[in-house]
């Protein structure tokens, strides 16, 4: 048993509905049930938490909040849906403002049924979540240990959903820098991405470790210029040279290009630093939104 199962920190969010499950979840902390004896802390801060406990059905207002909290949880993380409403929408499922259970927005690992779910059931759900957490942690460690066996391959259209999910995770750090979710990379839909795959001049490269995509880059040519965009690496695997390798690989796929071009936001110092390290130089800026100015960088082929 690793330390993961001995110290599960929880963040609890009540999406909507009658608050019954909400009260029962808090009842777990009381002297009768005392989940702290299992090391559980109700943190209230997504960045400290391991387990995301959601009660209630998802409505239009809580949708964005759930996504936000889920993305802020550091890996590895587990989601536990508590109560009938969180499972399927419950008696509210046919309401005009309800989009269904929690799994209509984020992936759910453990389902705890009940209306309202009993504290014993909730504790049991959390204990089961610990097993999932350990499994995910092992997967992450094995991925991190086999990074040297990473494959850099052409991505197919069937990879689009996985790449899009990765893109949304990877761009969270950019959205935080600018305090703005309107980045095109975060707004892209699956249909748009799939259309990109059908364009003949567009090339996608993916980094695959143990069958899981942890990085990707895309590029297309305009005359002699190759435009490289969206160098994305899963946040957990950053700083290990995957991004650098991706840029090298995509440059190799355009043997006829005389010049390479990239763009990034003006405050993304890390990206700017990396590209300058590759030999790229800034040549123009262009305002995009009040918060973001694009910086274009270029490099001639030697």
């Amino acid at each position: 048993m690793s330390s993961f199962s001995k110290s599960p920190w929880i963040i609890h969010y009540d999406a909507s509905s009658c608050n019954g499950c909400d009260i029962e979840t808090l009842a777990c902390l009381t002297p009768i049930y005392d989940v702290e004896r299992l090391g559980v802390i109700n943190t209230g801060n997504p960045k400290h938490a391991d387990i995301f406990v959601v009660t209630g059905a998802v409505n239009e207002q809580s949708k964005a909040v759930i996504c936000n909290i889920y993305h802020q949880l550091p890996e590895p993380k587990v989601v536990v849906a508590v109560g009938a409403c969180a499972l399927s929408g419950g008696i509210f499922s046919e309401c005009y403002n309800i989009s269904g259970g929690v799994d209509s927005v984020i992936p759910v690992d453990v389902y705890v049924p009940g209306c309202a779910a009993r504290p014993e059931a909730i504790i049991d759900g959390v204990v089961q979540a610990l097993g999932v957490l350990e499994k995910k942690q092992k997967e992450m460690t094995s991925l991190a240990n086999s990074l040297d066996q990473a494959l850099y391959l052409r991505a197919e259209k069937s990879d689009a959903p996985e790449i899009l999910a990765l893109q949304k995770t990877a761009y969270q750090s950019e959205a935080e820098i600018y305090g703005d979710d309107s980045l095109p990379a975060l707004q892209q839909t699956l249909e748009e991405l799939q259309k990109d795959f059908e364009r003949p001049e567009q090339v996608f490269i993916k980094t695959v470790v143990n069958g899981k995509i942890i990085g990707s880059v895309r590029g297309h040519t305009v005359d002699d210029t190759a435009c490289i965009s969206r160098v994305i690496v899963h946040p957990y695997f950053r700083g290990r040279g995957i991004g650098r390798r991706l840029v090298e690989e995509i440059e190799k796929t355009f043997p006829n290009a005389k010049r390479f071009e990239v763009k990034t936001g003006h405050k993304s110092e890390r990206n700017l630093f990396q590209f300058r390290h590759h030999g790229y130089q800034e040549f123009k800026t262009e305002p995009f939104t009040p918060a973001i100015t694009w910086v274009y960088l270029q490099k001639e082929r030697k």
Partner: protein, 323 residues
């Protein structure tokens, strides 16, 4: 004991003792709330887990600040247990806290901003009392060096009762316990999300935890100084003070920052400064009988004059001429 050996023991033992204290704290708190509470090794499990978690970072530099916070927290205790100058220890302590605040400021989130501001207010609240504690210890032992204070034959708490109580008050602030858990609280409270530590996760949060362990061992070491001449009593009292702090934590609600600041300064002024005033009056008395020499400073002569001692005849014109 050789100060280097003491330092080495501190470096190795402090995180273990500090972690156990933190576990004990949670256990005692749980018992006070009629709960079972987590295992005593729980803080170690937490830190081991945090090390394996992903480190979500807003700005990379925030982690360097926290690294220096940990380093200086260790350094503070190292100076203290190595027997260095008490004033230097206080400066290192302040610098450590400043790095923690800078880290939180760097993360640019409203919650960690408010937490950092409150931490600064807390520092303003406890600094005067901590300085007065060092000055009080100097007045009794005539030395700022920790090893000389610790080996001084008098029981310091008898000479510094006011300062001891005032120091207890600052310990509540320094341990971030209720009623002074303004910047962040360790228990299941969720105000300000998580205050000053909101934006830290993974390894960085683990570093903060470990720094707290070192800090709490150092602070309890300072409590020991008050009982330095009776080592067994000193250790017992340090632990008793720790239990007392936990008790206060569980009994009291949180104060507003205005009240915290005002009350801390009031305590420093009344208990701390009052104690020092009494000490200086006490220590000036034995000088009276010999106050007749020409070499004595004027102030001593003047102060002792209302005390009933008649100045020597040859001394009066001397005083007049100097004025």
């Amino acid at each position: 004991m050789n100060p280097w050996i003491r330092l080495l023991i501190y470096l190795v033992a402090a995180p273990v003792v500090g972690g156990l204290l933190a576990g004990w704290d949670r256990r005692i708190s749980a018992r006070m709330q009629s709960r079972q509470g987590p295992p005593i090794f729980q803080p170690f499990y937490d830190v081991l887990k945090l090390v394996q978690k992903e480190n979500v970072v807003v700005r990379r530099s925030q982690n360097y600040y926290i690294f220096f916070f940990l380093l200086l927290a260790i350094f503070t205790g190292g100076l203290f247990f190595g027997g260095a100058d008490l004033l230097l220890v206080i400066f290192a302590l302040t610098l450590a806290a400043i790095f923690f605040v800078l880290g939180a400021y760097k993360a640019s989130s409203p919650y960690s901003f408010i937490g950092a501001e409150r931490e600064l207010i807390q520092m303003m609240a406890y600094e005067p009392m901590i300085l007065l504690t060092a000055i009080g210890m100097y007045m009794v032992t005539k030395s700022f060096a920790v090893n000389e204070i610790a080996s001084h034959p008098t029981l310091l708490v008898l000479m510094l009762p006011g300062i001891f109580l005032g120091f207890l008050y600052t310990l509540e602030i320094k341990f971030r316990k209720s009623p002074f858990d303004l910047s962040c609280s360790h228990h299941a409270h969720q105000e300000l999300v998580r205050g000053i530590t909101t934006e830290f996760s993974g390894r960085t949060l683990a570093m903060i935890e470990i720094a707290h362990w070192y800090e709490s061992v150092f602070l309890l070491g300072w409590v020991y100084l008050f009982f330095g001449s009776l080592p067994v009593l000193g250790v017992a009292m340090s632990l008793l003070v720790f239990v007392f702090i936990i008790l206060v934590d569980n009994v009291f609600a949180r104060l507003k920052w205005q009240t915290a600041l005002k009350s801390a300064w009031l305590v420093a002024a009344v208990l701390g400064f009052g104690n020092i005033l009494v000490l200086s009056l006490l220590s000036s008395k034995p000088a009276d009988p010999s106050g007749s020499g020409d070499a004595k400073p004027v102030a001593t002569t003047r102060m002792s004059a209302p005390g009933g001692t008649t100045p020597a005849p040859g001394n009066a014109p001397e005083t007049a001429r100097r004025n």
